[in-house]
Symmetry: C2
DNA sequence: TGTACATCAGTGAACGCGCGTTCACTGATGTAC
DNA sequence: TGTACATCAGTGAACGCGCGTTCACTGATGTAC
């Protein structure tokens, strides 16, 4: 056929996509350039257009890609918490120092929520799909349908903890949020 | 003294600051340029440096300025809700269609939370001060100290509602969040 | 087996553009005399 | 009251830079014969 096999093309495509998914969570949609993504993959900017039609195309795909591990984690956490009959396990993992310090590998909602509303429709659609899946997954351990309140509180709290420059204030936020989540897990 | 009175200089300074406070909430920190702020005030970009040392200086001041009405609103809402003995008034106003549709005049936390962590120290310090004041104010109607959980849930929910492109999903989020907030307002 | 050719992922120079910042300037006004 | 001067907020051309995108190209490999 040609120089490269089909798998090689797909692998590069996937690597670009994953790098973009990590970088948007770390630096925001406006903080990543086509060049910086390609550099992260070890290529130069010109080759980008063999894989995506333009930057908007990449951002929409990266939004979807960033939400996959987000939802998977909620799935694992809620499964474990339900088995242990201890809902607070989820919040303890979600609000951990590690998650606060590593947005690039963390929840896409906490990293990007307030920016998504300013993005194009494809990005917003991708976000809505992932967020709904996350809220549904959390409903396993928080009574009722799609647990939007819990999802909003946890992602909002993580964003606040990252925004605040003071370790003591971060701990204060975490303590109070976990207390409130305990109250929401109680009863019918 | 000179052509302009001291008041004139201060008025222009205040107008630039207010325009920046509105524009960062509407378009994000990376979505505003020195030129766009000056244009909003009816001036040209060159005059900017008679009022601020650089863009970072403006952003830090604008962060503070954007949080002033945010905290004032929480103050008014919680006072009214306490007087009416109806905590849900706050969430009803905060999660209103009007607030969803007008981030430029709305809560600075919902509009910017996930971006603040990537900003310089002065912006983050300003944010922390305002967020703490908001959480303290909300504690009037939600039992306990600084109501970080309620603040995180409300600001997180508003960000989610703005991110999502579907009216039905927005309503679903609002309904569930208000239900959860009712539960948090109950009891000791 | 050996040679000529076709393929195509990736390269890097080039483009037009908007950005933050600088700077020589303008021109309306207050002050000095 | 009238004239010369000083002040300084605001103007707009210019700068260097990074961006998204285009495009002629390279060069390693598969295929044809």
């Amino acid at each position: 056929m040609a120089r490269y096999t089909a798998e090689h093309h797909e692998q590069t495509h996937a690597a670009i996509l994953q790098a973009a998914a990590d970088l948007i969570r770390e630096h925001g949609f406006d903080g990543v350039s086509v060049g910086s993504v390609m550099k992260a993959v070890g290529l130069t900017h010109g080759g980008f257009y063999a894989h995506f039609t333009d930057k908007a195309d990449l951002l929409a795909a990266a939004m979807t890609q960033a939400l996959i591990p987000t939802v998977e984690r909620f799935d694992r956490w809620t499964t474990a918490a339900a088995a242990a009959d201890d809902p607070s396990q989820v919040a303890r993992a979600y609000l951990s120092d590690h998650h606060v310090a590593h947005p690039g590998q963390g929840c896409a909602a906490a990293a990007l929520a307030s920016e998504v509303g300013r993005q194009d429709a494809p990005v917003r659609d991708a976000f809505a799909t992932g967020a709904e899946a996350a809220a549904n997954t959390l409903a396993r351990i928080y009574p009722g349908e799609a647990a939007w309140g819990v999802f909003a509180m946890m992602s909002g709290a993580l964003a606040l903890m990252r925004a605040v420059p003071d370790e003591a204030m971060r701990n204060q936020i975490r303590t109070r949020v976990m207390q409130d989540l305990r109250k929401l897990a109680e009863g019918e």
